[in-house]
């Protein structure tokens, strides 16, 4: 493994982890709204959340460029308020990956929230627990398997994200060139096949590791739920 390849892997991991962690809170909030609340425009929200899944990734990437580019309205705001720039930076790659992974995060969390027995929350209230405590001690632990499943799915998606990333932040080695983009570049060059293959093996291992980790954690939680501890 060359130094460049290690750097690519580390960058990809950084981008995917940042994307997953940053997308998690808003995804949970949206899942909560969809699972627990009734409001006008719920169908529309559902459709918007699903959009990155059904839109061509290139279109999503272009949309991000328009919104979060240096001249985009949100890009300018973010820079002015937080000093955060996205265009042609690794943060932009993380943003693109996060947006693409968002629907994959929302769905399992929503399903697991819907599966939480509201009667248990009611019982917790009769025992004097305030809403926040009920959420932290009952709802969240019971929804954890879904949250975990969503996070792993999102991480894997973020790791492999290509179309939106290359459109939004281009393919800059050392800054925005993640695994997928590097493999693509290597395959473009007549001598890159062997290096590409190595990176492909690495991405297989990374994805496999993530899935196995989530299965293991899921079983751990499941065992708690079934009471075989």
């Amino acid at each position: 493994m060359t130094e460049t390849e290690t750097a690519i892997i580390l960058l990809s991991a950084k981008v995917a982890i940042a994307a997953t962690l940053c997308a998690l809170p808003p995804a949970f909030a949206v899942a909560w709204l969809l699972a627990r609340r009734r409001f006008a425009g719920k169908g529309l929200l559902q459709a918007i959340v699903t959009l990155p899944l059904v839109l061509p990734p290139v279109a999503t990437g272009y949309g991000l460029l328009l919104l979060f580019g240096t001249q985009g309205p949100l890009g300018r705001t973010m820079e002015a308020v937080f000093g955060l720039t996205f265009a042609f930076r690794w943060t932009g790659a993380a943003l693109a990956a996060g947006v693409m992974a968002f629907p994959l995060l929302v769905r399992p969390i929503r399903l697991s929230l819907e599966a939480v027995d509201r009667g248990l929350e009611e019982a917790a209230a009769t025992l004097g627990a305030p809403r926040v405590i009920v959420f932290l001690t009952v709802t969240l632990p019971l929804a954890l398997p879904g949250l975990l499943a969503g996070a792993v799915l999102a991480f894997a998606k973020a790791l492999g994200e290509f179309g939106a990333t290359i459109t939004f932040v281009s393919n800059i080695p050392g800054e925005t060139q993640t695994l997928s983009l590097a493999i693509y570049s290597l395959l473009q060059s007549p001598t890159g096949d062997a290096a590409a293959l190595r990176l492909i093996v690495v991405s297989i291992l990374l994805a496999l590791g993530a899935v196995l980790l989530s299965e293991w954690a899921g079983r751990l939680i499941q065992r708690g739920g079934d009471g075989r501890a």
């Binding site: 027995d117 009667g119 248990l120 009611e122 019982a123 917790a124 209230a125 009769t126 025992l127 004097g128 627990a129 305030p130 405590i133 009920v134 001690t137 009952v138 632990p141 019971l142 708690g224 739920g225 079934d226 009471g227 075989r228 501890a229």
Partner: protein, 361 residues
């Protein structure tokens, strides 16, 4: 002495409920058929359903007052609630479930955990998860969890209805133990006559969303029961014969003797007498194996075909006798007549030790 005062009216869906009753420390049963509105009334007391008007007061503390705009949230009502299903938290150990009100609800540690654990026989289960317990054990944990919430009032919504016969029989003694030692009002919703007869001190009969009658279990439950007519008599054990293992029970003037190994003197008992176990004589008799001969007044005689049902007044209590129509005619039974009831069998429906502070009536 504080207690529960309920005077509410409201709707659950399109079903109108209106109820007015009071409950003192001890067990008050909300009794009625399924769909009579019992559970809705209970939910309104708990705060999980909202009445349209009225007041709910516990121990002088207003939980709900529509006119004053008071509607305390569930968590602030100081209740303990036992649901039909156990509703234990599946991811928490029995111990963490039992103490949930303390670590999550910040309720005061009213009584020691070991005391409640012993009362409900949960010593061996504390570190297990609810999923590994039987249905009966789970419901016992649920009862303990409610007791440990330091409640000012304990609400139970048909806690045995989700269990089979065997499990119910297994839990009833624990419920009796809870009922026997509690010093707070317990509102027990049920449509099962035998549960109510065993547990309740008072019965609020609910029908079509309204309170039909309030009274003692004997007053409300006596009469028809599954095709069989039974009477419930309230009494107190005044004497024990250790040799024959019989107890003498004072039932308001008259006494009955019954086989009752293990009943302590002073225990309050509720006796069940089936109409088919009561014969009638016009005067006392000697030379009978039947030792319980009670002097009664005939209140009513109703003849249906070959069967006569006779309602007898024994002081304040009521007794039923089922004899043949021919016997009734031969004896010339009529309302107001003094007769002797010959009671062949008496069973103890419920026994409870007197508390020292309970006045002897």
């Amino acid at each position: 002495m504080g207690g529960l005062e309920v005077d509410i009216a409201g709707k659950a869906g399109s079903f109108a409920v209106s109820a007015r009753f009071e409950a003192e420390p001890g067990v008050t049963a909300l009794f009625g058929r399924s769909g009579a509105g019992k559970s809705t009334i209970l939910k309104m007391i708990a705060g999980t359903a909202r009445p349209d008007e009225g007041r709910i007061v516990v121990d002088g503390r207003v939980l709900f007052d529509a006119a004053a705009g008071i509607d305390l949230p569930v968590r602030a009502r100081g209740i303990g609630f036992v649901f039909q299903e156990d509703r234990l938290f599946p991811h928490l150990s029995v111990r963490r479930n039992l103490t949930y009100a303390r670590w999550a609800g910040r309720r005061a540690a009213g009584r020691p955990l070991p005391e409640v654990v012993a009362l409900l026989g949960l010593e061996d289960h504390l570190d297990r998860l609810p999923g590994t317990l039987s249905g009966g054990e789970r419901q016992r944990v649920a009862i303990g969890r409610a007791l440990l919430a330091d409640p000012r009032i304990l609400l139970m919504d048909e806690p045995l209805s989700s269990l089979d016969r065997q499990r119910r029989a297994e839990i009833l003694p624990y419920l009796e133990a809870v009922a026997g030692e509690t010093r707070i009002p317990v509102i027990y919703v049920s449509h099962e006559t035998d549960e109510v007869a065993r547990l309740a001190d008072r019965v609020v009969a609910v029908e079509a969303g309204r309170v039909r009658a309030v009274g003692s279990p004997a007053e409300i439950l006596g009469g028809e029961e599954g095709g069989e007519i039974v009477a419930l008599l309230e009494g107190r054990v005044t004497g024990i014969d250790p040799h024959y293992e019989t107890a003498t029970v004072d039932i308001g003037g008259a006494t009955v003797e019954l086989p009752a190994p293990g009943l302590p003197a002073g225990a309050r008992v509720r006796l069940r007498v089936r109409a088919s176990d009561v014969a009638i004589a016009t005067r006392p008799h000697d030379g009978l194996s039947i030792r319980n001969q009670l002097s009664c007044t005939v209140e009513r005689v109703s003849v249906t075909g070959s069967v006569a049902e006779v309602l007898l007044a024994l002081g304040e209590q009521r007794l039923f006798s089922r004899i043949t129509g021919k016997s009734a005619d031969t004896l010339g039974l009529a309302a107001g007549q003094r007769v002797v009831a010959l009671v062949k069998a008496v069973s103890v429906e419920r026994a409870r030790l007197m508390r020292p502070d309970e006045a002897v009536e």
